[in-house]
C-alpha cells in the first residue's frame, strides 16, 4: 500500500511538471507577439512592459523564462498589472467561497446520485426508473446560467425565500452562509446528478449480475445487505474516481458560471472577470493551480481507491 502511494505520488509529480511546461508554452512561448506586453495588459506604458520583460526574463533563453515564470507563480509574486493586485493573494482570498460552493455541491450531488442511481437500478425498466431517467437527462442538459437564473428569479426574487446571490463567509455567519449557498449548490448539483446517477445505475446493474452477488444471495443475508455491502461498494469505485476529478476541476475555476450567476466572489468569478479584462497573469496562475489540483486530487483519489479495492494495489 505504501509502495503504491509513493509510486502514485511520483507519477503525479511528473505529470505536474509536464503540465507546467505545457501551460508555460501555451501562455508565454507559442502565441506570437510580445509576451511582456500580453502580461502587462492594454493600458500599460512602454516602461512597464520593459520592466516586466526584465522581471520575467523574456530577454533570456526560453528555459530561463520557464523557470522564472514558475518561480513567480509559486513564490506568490505575480501581479495583475491591470488591477495592481497580487494574484496569489487574490486566489487565496477567493478560495473559501469556491470551496464552499464546490464541497457543498459535490456532497449533494454524490448523495442524491447514489440514491437515484440505486433506485433506478433496483427498479430497472419500471416506472420509477423511467421517471428518473427522464429527470437525469433534463438535469444534465440544464445549463447553470439558465437553471441558476430561473432559481434566483422564482425562489429569490419572487418568493423571497433565498437571498439574491452574494457570498457570506462561514466564519462570519453560518446561517447566512448556508442560505446564500443553497441555491448555488443545487444548481451545481443538478447537472452532475444527471450524469452520476446514470453512471451508477449502469455500474450497479453490471455488478448485480456478478457471480459474487449471487454468492452473497446464496448466503442467506438480507437483500439490503447484498445491495449495500456487495453490489454498491463495488459499483461505487468508478464513481469515486470521477468524483475526485470533477471536484478538482471545479475548484480550479470550473465554478465560473455558478459564481457569475450568483455573484459569488470565488476563483471562478475571478478568472471570468480577468478574461473579460484581458488580464493574463490571473488566468495563467489559476490555470496552473487548477491543473495541479486536478493531478493532485486524482492521485489522492487513486490512493483512496486502492484502499477501497485491493486489486488495484497489485496492478499498474
Amino acid at each position: 500500500m505504501a509502495r503504491f502511494a509513493i509510486r502514485r505520488i511520483g507519477s503525479a509529480l511528473l505529470v505536474m511538471f509536464a503540465t507546467s511546461v505545457l501551460t508555460f508554452l501555451i501562455f508565454q512561448a507559442i502565441p506570437s507577439g510580445d509576451p511582456a506586453f500580453r502580461l502587462a495588459g492594454k493600458y500599460s506604458t512602454p516602461a512597464q512592459v520593459e520592466s516586466i520583460r526584465k522581471e520575467w526574463g523574456f530577454d533570456k533563453p526560453i528555459y530561463v523564462q520557464y523557470v522564472k515564470t514558475m518561480g513567480k507563480i509559486f513564490d506568490g509574486s505575480v501581479i495583475s498589472y491591470t488591477q495592481q493586485l497580487n494574484v496569489d493573494q487574490t486566489v487565496i482570498h477567493d478560495l473559501p467561497a469556491t470551496l464552499s460552493v464546490t464541497i457543498g455541491g459535490a456532497v449533494i450531488w454524490l448523495l442524491v446520485s447514489v440514491l437515484f442511481g440505486v433506485l433506478s437500478a433496483i427498479r430497472a425498466g419500471r416506472y420509477l426508473d423511467r421517471v428518473l431517467t427522464v429527470l437525469a437527462f433534463v438535469g444534465l442538459s440544464m445549463p447553470a446560467f439558465f437553471l441558476g437564473d430561473i432559481a434566483l428569479y422564482y425562489f429569490g426574487y419572487k418568493a423571497k425565500i433565498f437571498p439574491l446571490g452574494d457570498y457570506v463567509p462561514l466564519t462570519q455567519n453560518p446561517g447566512a452562509w448556508f442560505s446564500h449557498l443553497l441555491l448555488p449548490w443545487i444548481t451545481l448539483a443538478v447537472l452532475y446528478i444527471g450524469i452520476y446517477s446514470r453512471i451508477l445505475r449502469s455500474s450497479l446493474l453490471d455488478t448485480l449480475g456478478e457471480d459474487y452477488v449471487r454468492t452473497a444471495r446464496a448466503k442467506g443475508i438480507s437483500e439490503r445487505r447484498v445491495l449495500v455491502r456487495h453490489a454498491l461498494r463495488n459499483s461505487m469505485i468508478p464513481l469515486i474516481s470521477l468524483w475526485g476529478l470533477d471536484f478538482a476541476s471545479l475548484l480550479g475555476g470550473g465554478t465560473i458560471l455558478i459564481e457569475e450567476v450568483f455573484n459569488i466572489n470565488g476563483v471562478g468569478k475571478y478568472v471570468g472577470d480577468s478574461i473579460g479584462r484581458l488580464d493574463v497573469p490571473p488566468i495563467l496562475v489559476v490555470t496552473v493551480f487548477a491543473a495541479f489540483a486536478v493531478v493532485a486530487l486524482s492521485a489522492i483519489v487513486d490512493i483512496l481507491y486502492a484502499a477501497l479495492d485491493p486489486r488495484i494495489r497489485l496492478s499498474s
Binding site: 457471480d211 449471487r214 452473497a216 446464496a218 442467506g220 463495488n234 479495492d309 485491493p310
Partner: protein, 364 residues
C-alpha cells in the same frame, strides 16, 4: 478423472427403515419469459436426494441443470420467471416459500458452491470476512467467534496457514484455493444439502481431483446430501451414488451410478458415455462427439427432445416419452426412450464399448 466407477457407498447414516429423503423434488418446472419467447429451462423434473448421498446432475450447457440447483435456493425468482412443482427439504416446501423463509434456508440448510471461484468471491472483501458474514447471517455469535469458526473451516478444507490467509483477498488465492474457500463458506452453517454447481469446471485437472475428494470427505463426515451439477460424467464416476441425466430441460434418464454406466437406456446417455476419454482403453480414432447442437429451449422439438440428433429415432419418437421405469428388474432406473430394452442393449455397443452410433436420423 475417469476410470471405472466403483460401487456406491452404503450410507452409514441411513437406518434400516428408510426415512423420507432429505430432498424430494416433484414436477419442478421453470420457465422464463424473454423477448424472444418463453424459455422452458426445466420441465417436470422429479428426483430425490437422501442424507449422505451424492446425486450428480449431468448434461450439456443449457440443459437446465444449473437452473434446477438455483431454483431450489430460490435464486431464479424474478418477475419473468414461472416456477411450478414442488421441492420439499426435510418436509418443508421451498417452491413458493416466502422470501424470509428462503433466506433462513439459504446458506444454513442448503449451501451452494459455484462454478467459477475466480468470480464468485467478492473481490474487495477479505475471505475470512466473507465466511464470517454467512455464519453471522444465521447464528447469533460474535464476530471473533465467527472468525475462529471460519479459520477452523478453512483449515479443514485444506487451506494452509488459515489464520493468516483469512485476512487475504480473493485475488491473492489460486483458483483451487478459492474453491476451497467457497467450500469452507458453504460448510460454515453445517448445511444438510450442498448444491455444487460445476465446482471443478474452472480448475486444473489435478485440482479437480483434490476438490472432488474434498467433497467426498465432507459427505462422509457431515452426512450432508450433495447435489453435484456437472457436464462431465468422468468427474462423477468416483463420487456419485446416483446420476440424473438432463437434456433440453428434461430429465431423460436417472439411476444408480452402476445402472447408468453399465446399462444406460437413453441414446443421449450412450453419447455422453461414448465421449469420455478413457485412459484404460486404446484410442483408435477421434474422440466421438454427439453430432448436432442441443435444441433451443425456446421451442424444443415436439416429442422426444433428443430426436433430431438421435440415429435410432423412429415413428413413436414424435410423441413425448414419459420418464418411467422401462426395465423389469428396477423401479428406480427410469428413462425417456421408447426403444425396446433388448434393442437398446444391442445398438448401444459401438466399437466394443457403449456409445452413440453414427448415422442419419430416420425421423426428422
Amino acid at each position: 478423472m475417469s476410470g471405472p466407477p466403483r460401487s456406491p457407498e452404503v450410507d452409514p447414516a441411513a437406518p434400516a427403515t428408510s426415512p423420507p429423503p432429505l430432498l424430494v423434488v416433484d414436477g419442478l418446472t421453470v420457465s422464463f419469459r424473454t423477448e424472444q419467447g418463453v424459455v422452458h429451462a426445466v420441465e417436470d423434473a422429479s428426483f430425490t436426494v437422501a442424507r449422505g448421498e451424492v446425486v450428480a446432475v449431468v448434461g450439456e450447457s443449457g440443459s437446465g441443470k444449473s437452473v434446477t440447483g438455483l431454483t431450489l435456493m430460490g435464486l431464479t425468482r424474478s418477475p419473468n420467471a414461472t416456477i411450478g412443482g414442488s421441492a420439499l427439504l426435510s418436509g418443508r416446501e421451498l417452491i413458493g416459500a416466502s422470501e424470509a423463509t428462503l433466506r433462513a434456508v439459504r446458506g444454513a440448510e442448503i449451501a451452494m458452491i459455484f462454478q467459477d471461484p475466480m468470480s464468485s468471491l467478492n473481490p474487495v472483501l477479505r475471505v475470512g470476512e466473507q465466511i464470517v458474514e454467512q455464519i453471522r447471517a444465521h447464528d447469533d455469535v460474535t464476530h471473533a467467534a465467527a472468525l475462529d469458526r471460519a479459520v477452523e473451516l478453512m483449515e479443514r478444507v485444506g487451506i494452509p496457514r488459515a489464520r493468516d490467509r483469512s485476512r487475504a483477498f480473493p485475488h491473492e488465492f489460486s483458483g483451487g484455493m478459492r474453491q476451497r474457500v467457497m467450500i469452507a463458506m458453504a460448510l460454515s452453517c453445517s448445511p444438510s444439502l450442498l448444491i455444487a454447481d460445476e465446482p471443478t469446471t474452472a480448475l486444473d485437472v489435478t485440482i479437480q481431483a483434490q476438490i472432488m475428494e474434498e467433497l467426498g470427505v465432507l459427505r462422509r463426515e457431515t452426512g450432508a446430501g450433495i447435489l453435484l451439477v456437472t457436464h462431465d460424467l468422468g468427474v462423477v464416476a468416483d463420487i456419485a451414488d446416483r446420476i440424473i441425466v438432463m437434456y433440453a430441460g428434461q430429465i431423460i434418464e436417472q439411476g444408480t451410478l452402476d445402472e447408468l454406466f453399465y446399462d444406460p437406456q437413453h441414446p443421449y446417455t450412450w453419447g455422453l458415455l461414448g465421449s469420455i476419454t478413457r485412459v484404460d482403453r486404446v484410442r483408435t480414432a477421434r474422440l466421438p462427439a454427439i453430432p448436432g447442437q442441443p435444441p433451443s429451449l425456446l421451442n424444443a422439438p415436439a416429442g422426444c427432445h433428443f430426436r433430431p440428433r438421435c440415429p435410432h429415432a423412429f415413428a413413436a419418437c414424435t410423441q413425448p416419452p414419459a420418464l418411467e421405469a422401462r426395465l423389469p428388474d428396477s423401479t428406480e432406473h427410469r428413462d425417456r426412450c421408447f426403444l425396446e430394452p433388448s434393442d437398446k442393449r444391442r445398438i448401444r455397443t459401438v466399437d466394443g464399448a457403449i456409445g452413440l452410433a453414427t448415422g442419419e436420423t430416420v425421423i426428422s
